[in-house]
């Protein structure tokens, strides 16, 4: 039994030497492969050091290290899965996976015999600058952002977070596929709460990248701009009206039902409304959405998916037509398709279809034009309570981050106001798409999208 070597990095975090993760994974593979038709070992080793600020000051420093293995086998044509963070008993892991395969689904895939990024692509998702960042530097980034907000308004009760994570992913399979890569992610969170009487205002900004190259001042300034715009409360009206979804609104409200409908799994099962619509015009012709996890520098990308299938540029919606669904190996096999390199997993479950890095192509309207063209409407960034029937394409919720537009200007923030719509009905003909797309959350590049009209309901003044 190999004893994993321990090293301490600058902050004292213990991490497994990546070659030891690979050697434990190899051990498991060596024990299992003679007993099964196919076997795949997925190993991860993650180290993260979150720095947290609460009530305007530093509150805690954390060091989190976790590592584990997931073993997927195909025996007698059936799939079994066992996962563990107990690295000391590879035999038990193998026995459990084999035992469970008796109950598993029929496998419809061959694991890849070679694992790498698709040819010509050098997908880089690790930035050494993230690893070498010191805790002191991380603390001072948080302090700087908080100081900037409090200089604008000292009544704001601030919270902030500075996050740094490095991880090693190892993938080995019985068909000879071997792959390994490192990923780093760095994130800043800054925000605050302002309470006046019983009026609560919560604003926060978040950004992420592979390396520590997020502009902390710009992030704090973005929050300050919103606090400024939100100073006034504007009254919305209950009626159908134009609504602009800001990039975060598109990501947080519209992308859920869209990605659910484009999932190869939902399509195969018939729970997607787009099941029979491949190649058909479903959305406004100006809408083009591409998944491209080969894009370097953002933590949502990777050279290959969690089954070792290379990532690639995958148009999902092209000019409003359904161009492709996204698949993992098993779902693709069941559907008579090929994996699109979208097989992702949490360590404790089988891979399923998920998206990585997403691009919505910009349109031809400037954001200024969009706003100035609205006599009465809304611009929305986030809602609360949107957890409805995602497969029907419905979305709705109580606006948390949103503003009223009056006569082409932002008039103030809205409260007690709900929006509701359906992506299949309301996105057939959009009001417009902005000509600039923004990176958000280190995982998607999205423009503003204008709906000519959407259902809006609000509380009346009588109480």
């Amino acid at each position: 039994m190999a004893t994993a070597a321990r090293t301490h990095n600058a902050q004292g975090a213990q991490t497994t030497n990546p070659s030891d993760l690979a050697s434990v994974a190899q051990q498991v593979l060596d024990i299992v492969k003679s007993r099964v038709e196919q076997a795949e070992v997925y190993g991860y080793d993650t180290a993260s050091t979150p720095v947290d600020f609460e009530a305007n000051r530093l509150k805690s420093l954390e060091t989190k290290q976790s590592r584990g293995l997931s073993l997927r086998v195909v025996k007698d044509g059936r799939i079994g899965l066992a996962a563990t963070t107990k690295m000391g008993d590879p035999q038990l892991l193998v026995d459990q996976a084999i035992e469970l395969s008796a109950f598993g689904a029929q496998a419809r895939f061959q694991l890849p015999s070679s694992i790498s990024s698709s040819s010509g692509n050098n997908v880089t998702v690790f930035d050494p600058a993230a690893e070498s960042l010191s805790v002191e530097q991380m603390v001072s980034l948080g302090e700087e952002m908080i100081a900037r907000i409090r200089a604008y308004d000292s009544e704001i009760l601030c919270e902030a977070g500075v996050r740094r994570l490095t991880e090693t992913t190892v993938l080995l399979n019985s068909r000879g596929g071997q792959g390994q890569y490192r990923k780093s992610s760095f994130a800043l969170v800054i925000g605050g709460q302002l309470i006046r009487g019983e009026d609560f205002l919560n604003i926060w900004e978040y950004e992420s990248a592979c390396g520590p190259n997020i502009d902390q001042q710009a992030l704090a300034d973005a929050a300050i701009r919103k606090f400024e715009l939100a100073k006034h409360v504007a009254k919305a009206q209950t009626k159908r009206q134009p609504v602009i979804f800001a990039p975060r609104g598109v990501a947080g409200i519209l992308w859920g039902p869209m990605s659910a409908a484009l999932s190869g799994k939902a399509v195969y099962q018939g729970s997607s409304a787009l099941s029979e619509k491949l190649g058909q015009q479903v959305f406004d012709p100006r809408l083009t959405i591409v998944e491209d996890s080969t894009y370097s520098g953002v933590p949502s990308s990777s050279p290959f998916d969690d089954e070792g299938v290379s990532t690639r540029r995958l148009p999902l919606i092209q000019d409003g037509k359904v161009a492709s669904f996204y698949y993992d190996l098993q779902t693709a096999g069941l559907a008579g398709k090929e994996s699109t390199g979208n097989g992702y997993r949490s360590p404790e479950s089988l891979p399923g279809p998920h998206t990585g890095t997403i691009f919505f192509e910009p349109g031809d309207t400037s954001i200024e034009q969009m706003i100035s063209g609205i006599d009465e409407g809304l611009i929305v960034e986030s809602v609360t309570g949107n957890a409805g029937n995602i497969f029907s394409g419905d979305f709705s919720g109580n606006i948390q981050g949103g503003f009223k537009i009056e006569k082409g200007q932002i008039a103030g923030r809205v409260k007690d106001t709900m929006i509701a719509g359906n992506i299949f009905q309301d996105m057939k003909q959009l009001g417009g798409i902005s000509n600039v797309a923004d990176w958000i959350y280190g995982q998607a590049k999205i423009p503003h999208i204008l709906f000519s009209e959407l259902g809006v309901s609000t509380k009346s003044d009588r109480q």
Binding site: Q14, S60, Q65, K265, N386, D416, M418
Partner: protein, 456 residues
């Protein structure tokens, strides 16, 4: 384990140190349509150290338990880098307690083939209801968890917990219209609770089909009658989060609003939270000691409409000079504890559902929920099914709607509370600060005036 933990806690340089070691096992069967897609097993072992120094915290989590003492040193070093104020933890008498499982029928002892057969039968019960059933998503899972906790004051607690959940989500489809409903069963002690419930699964299938011909709600303000599930979610989303001590303890303005003694609702409104097995046995949020080793209890949040209590960790109770309540929970050894709800209830009142209905000239009746969330004074959640109420009777069915509003106004606007209390059994979890926690919730039917309903 006790000796290992106690040895690692000796001779530290902080105000307070605690160690938590956790071992879990879980088995999952998940279905894609009628076919079993995934049969999986997970085993986890990990630990964490949390240290406090002058009000600052250091936290270290790891899978390798061999370096426990070094991890204590690291957590203390981190706390010392942070702390500049004062550590103030409300007192808990040190105690040693080993809590075993009290099981009627251990799910882990049931053969996997039986569990598969149960799920196969439930799926057949759903699929056979209508040709409009397009697909299902279903899963069975059971899990066991053992936590060993020790702190530098001499408390040592071991606790084991079990949980099993069976869930079937049914999708009906007509042309491009897809609707869903679900049946969900859960238990913490008795596998048989999950069995023999084919009728409820069939009912979920019928509901999904019925939703195909339901209308969209028209958005606006309504008198709303909520079934116990939704009322329980409302109590949790709308009020429970504002009662969490960590939202309040460093927030003077919020404390001015959430001032003890303030009237929030009518005198018949009583809301409580607690994990105490003596008060709320066998619920998903039930346990004897929280993740700081504090004994749990029942805490009234609203009594006769008045704010009388809050939920606390040792730190939030210490800062506010209130009593501990046993509400410090961590999702796993990878997380610090946060103040979390456990089992949250609206206590029964005097009315019946029939009385509420007959008394409503026009309104909406909402049933079952998908999910909800809260940002302080605004809450929102999605209701799975709804019906218009016209002249005191249930009228046309509506597609799932969303309900939202200002918490304070909505609490005041609860004007009738039913007398039949029900626990929800959806195996629901609550999310906060990036952590999930299993929670219980229960309520009778309630009626709310002037609720904002989302619609097209």
């Amino acid at each position: 384990m006790r000796q290992q933990i106690e040895d690692a806690l000796k001779g530290h340089d902080a105000d307070f140190v605690e160690i938590r070691v956790e071992e879990t096992e879980a088995t999952t069967l998940s279905y894609r349509g009628k076919e079993l897609e995934e049969a999986g097993r997970t085993a986890n072992l990990g630990g964490c150290v949390r240290a406090a120094y002058k009000g600052g915290w250091g936290f270290v989590s790891f899978n390798d338990l061999s370096g426990l003492r070094q991890n204590v040193d690291l957590a203390v070093r981190q706390a010392r880098l942070v702390g500049k104020e004062e550590t103030n933890l409300a007192p808990v008498d040190p105690h040693v307690d080993i809590v075993g499982l009290s099981l009627v029928k251990d799910p882990r002892g049931v053969p996997l083939a039986d569990k598969k057969r149960l799920m196969d039968e439930y799926l057949e019960a759903a699929w056979s209801r209508s040709p409009k059933i397009q697909t299902t998503n279903a899963a069975y899972s059971d899990g066991w968890r053992k936590v060993s906790y020790g702190n530098s004051e001499g408390t040592y607690v071991e606790q084991q917990r079990a949980r099993a959940v069976a869930r079937v989500v049914v999708f009906a489809r007509e042309d491009g219209n897809v609707q869903q409903s679900r049946a969900s069963f859960s238990t913490t002690s008795n596998y048989d609770v999950l069995t023999g419930r084919h009728a409820e699964v069939a009912e979920a299938a019928d509901e999904a089909v019925a939703l195909l011909s339901a209308q969209d709600a028209t958005g606006g303000e309504y008198t709303v009658i909520c079934d116990p599930l939704i009322a329980a979610v409302f109590a949790h989303e709308a009020f429970g989060h504002l009662s969490e001590g960590d939202n309040v303890y460093e927030n003077e303005k919020l404390r001015d609003i959430m001032v003890l003694g303030r009237k929030f609702g009518q005198p018949f409104l009583n809301i409580a939270d607690g994990a105490d097995p003596g008060v709320y046995p066998g619920q998903p949020g039930t346990f004897r000691f929280d993740d700081e080793g504090t004994p749990t209890r029942k805490t009234y949040l609203l009594k006769e409409g008045v704010l009388v209590g809050r939920l606390h960790s040792r730190e939030t109770a210490g800062k506010l000079k209130e009593q501990v309540t046993g509400n410090a929970r961590a999702q796993s050894y990878r997380h610090q504890p946060l103040v979390r709800m456990t089992n949250t209830v609206i206590e029964p009142g005097d009315s019946s559902f029939d009385e509420m209905l007959a008394d409503t000239k026009q309104g909406i009746f909402v049933k079952d929920w998908y999910g909800g969330s809260t940002t302080h004074e605004q809450f929102g959640f999605s209701c799975a099914q709804a019906w218009m109420i016209r002249d005191g009777k249930l009228a046309e069915p509506l597609k799932g709607t969303t309900l939202s509003g200002n918490l304070f106004r909505t609490l005041e606007n609860i004007d009738m509370i039913g007398r039949d209390f029900e626990w929800t059994e959806s195996g629901g979890t609550c999310g906060k600060g990036g952590q999930t926690a299993p929670v219980g919730s229960g309520s009778p039917y309630i009626r709310i005036q002037n609720a904002v309903v989302g619609g097209r």
